[in-house]
Symmetry: D3
Subunit: 162 residues, 6 copies
Amino acid sequence: MTVGLIPGSFDPFHNGHLEVVERASRIFDEIVVAAIRNPQKSEPLFDLDQRREMIGESCAHLSNVRIVSIATLLVNVARDVNATSIVKGLRAVSDFESELQMAQMNRSLSGVETLFLPSSSHTSFIASRLLREVARYGGDVSSFVPEPVRRRLDEKFPRVTP
Amino acid sequence: MTVGLIPGSFDPFHNGHLEVVERASRIFDEIVVAAIRNPQKSEPLFDLDQRREMIGESCAHLSNVRIVSIATLLVNVARDVNATSIVKGLRAVSDFESELQMAQMNRSLSGVETLFLPSSSHTSFIASRLLREVARYGGDVSSFVPEPVRRRLDEKFPRVTP
Amino acid sequence: MTVGLIPGSFDPFHNGHLEVVERASRIFDEIVVAAIRNPQKSEPLFDLDQRREMIGESCAHLSNVRIVSIATLLVNVARDVNATSIVKGLRAVSDFESELQMAQMNRSLSGVETLFLPSSSHTSFIASRLLREVARYGGDVSSFVPEPVRRRLDEKFPRVTP
Amino acid sequence: MTVGLIPGSFDPFHNGHLEVVERASRIFDEIVVAAIRNPQKSEPLFDLDQRREMIGESCAHLSNVRIVSIATLLVNVARDVNATSIVKGLRAVSDFESELQMAQMNRSLSGVETLFLPSSSHTSFIASRLLREVARYGGDVSSFVPEPVRRRLDEKFPRVTP
Amino acid sequence: MTVGLIPGSFDPFHNGHLEVVERASRIFDEIVVAAIRNPQKSEPLFDLDQRREMIGESCAHLSNVRIVSIATLLVNVARDVNATSIVKGLRAVSDFESELQMAQMNRSLSGVETLFLPSSSHTSFIASRLLREVARYGGDVSSFVPEPVRRRLDEKFPRVTP
Amino acid sequence: MTVGLIPGSFDPFHNGHLEVVERASRIFDEIVVAAIRNPQKSEPLFDLDQRREMIGESCAHLSNVRIVSIATLLVNVARDVNATSIVKGLRAVSDFESELQMAQMNRSLSGVETLFLPSSSHTSFIASRLLREVARYGGDVSSFVPEPVRRRLDEKFPRVTP
């Protein structure tokens, strides 16, 4: 059985992330999406539990996908879930290099491979960092995130009527 | 009438920024320079008012340029000033990708286009981040910033005589 | 009056090119599209006259756009048509660097500036080089090129029914 | 059943290619390696048949891998072999962008996804272009290519004793 | 006499850094390694004194290398030690651009040149940022750092037995 | 004694190349500039002998520099001249990656290191490829090349009076 592990901050989970999960779920027998605590980003928009919940609701239509949240090394999770590969979406060249470093480091630490899925062109400009900024100012991000994420963003940041 | 909107942190405004404003002022009927509050950078060197003042003095010779400072979404400002295009300077490849993401996001949110003006080669290495560091240690940045900026930097960080 | 000069091989002209012309035509009073002979590519798919014709038909709906074909230095054309700026579409990081070199060289030779317009995300993967290859093998490129180009490609390379 | 299609010029097939095939063969049920005729490179070192033969001998230890050579559009082959995904190795940033364009074009033409496998660090500098040059001058490439390729290169370009 | 100055955060010093020092020590008559305080990174893993100590022990086998720690502008140190060149390791494309900006700024401020030494392929994925994260979670970094660094990391973050 | 080997096509040798030679001649005891035959570029502008001559005249003011022309593997030349390092100028990110591959390949073949010297900002846009094109059309390249190169270009391509 092949198991793909998709890690990320997912703060928030957006349509570009969802697309990667959907495509990977057609390649692997099972997909584990892992929301990770990023120790370098001090103030997340949503805490780990909220993120896991939102991802779960957004992926409810995918029967071979389950969600975990982690505060440990990714390679430990990979071993625990018997991951065949780590799977990452790739949006841009600047993503690629730091992802490549992490992929080679993870492989060196544990032998687990990393596979990259390129973003489709219509989601390649969606970035959590930009979404957080737009949402904070009351902008409309409903075309960039799944419905369960949009609802929580609307609760947190009431929309400004232009 | 064409209106170009040039946004940035401008902390501080330097000769590379000035050059972009000068060149854009020859292409557009009117230019609006917008100093923006960057919520991710917690401690700016100069506050928004000081930055607006310095940019204003540095651009005093350009009759079709006016300066605003903003703490809202850029696309809202673009709508308020009837901007024909957002205009950004491009120094390097690494600038390009995040700028491209922002350009596509802004276009998707509001329909406003972004135009890029490449830096001329002799200003391409000037970066506000490096200038802040050099000035903090008492280094001489007078050949990289307009006179009104140099004066304020000298007040803030007395020059160290080597 | 502002005049934008849009140079390119345009072999063939595709929807990504058309989009750049359309957007530039809203910023500049007049647009000149210049099909250039690339001395380094020995066997073009279409000759310069055919390319000029195809671009003309594809841009017929844009009243302030005219087409020329050139076999001289771009900066000479820029001077002849009184171009305010050269305008180039930017698709990708790898485009950016050689474009930046050319922009700085052209500026150094003649003082003419270059402006960059980023591709919209849904055309960013369309490249003439890929289209030529797909068309040569009888693939269907009709969703990537304007109708006048599709017609000529179909004449040249009869479509293979899958 | 999952089928991975690995296309390339493979002129010559080297240890970096072999590593990608080996890793992909552990992720997919079946792997098809496709040696493609590149119409833009006029004089290949080895013809398509020789390349298919060399790849076959180099992958003889992998029971779920078969080799084809093609002179048609990749997406046609993908359909013919019922490929679940196209699989490409990624060595460097500069590879990434043109690969991403091709991936998006292929997806748009046929719906077939492309997966990327990053090179391991110790093969990332091996490039067929460099190997051809070294071999032509009689240099020793035996540590960069599988034995069946080394043998044929030695026949073609007798080694120069330093 | 030629003097090479190798600056860095070195938090922690790793095998990729050591390799650059070893190679530079064969090109220059004397090497000065300078551990710098990075004012933008608020909480270093090791303080400047600890870093200088670790680098010193790690380079004890190199007779023409000495270590300093600095909290001033790099160009001042370059002048104080009569550096012929600044020497930096280059791992990746994304390193290159910001390094190039700094090199041009330093040259403009003081006339001192910067030389780049590319990482060897087997150390190119080692990054202090990743090592800090792995060590914090009790992962094993012993194959990526010199023995004196490993010992101090083990004291700080007791290893987790898997 | 340290010996730096600077290889290149130098077709033609320009001010960016000259600057690298001048800077390297202050770091190394001796510099060897090697004009190489590029088997992939079929029609050079100047043949190898002409290039060696032009480089020699352009570097006549540098007493520790000598010029060779080669039609063999670079690593063989490096061994023959006892090179301590290969030295390359770096203009741009896109140069960097293929240079890095070559550096790692050369190191793997022969143990010889490669050092990179970044272009100064005012020569970073000068590229032989662009100069050949400008010169062919009778444009003025006199501010981009040394006098001995300008003279030969003028003989080959009579200047067009604008």
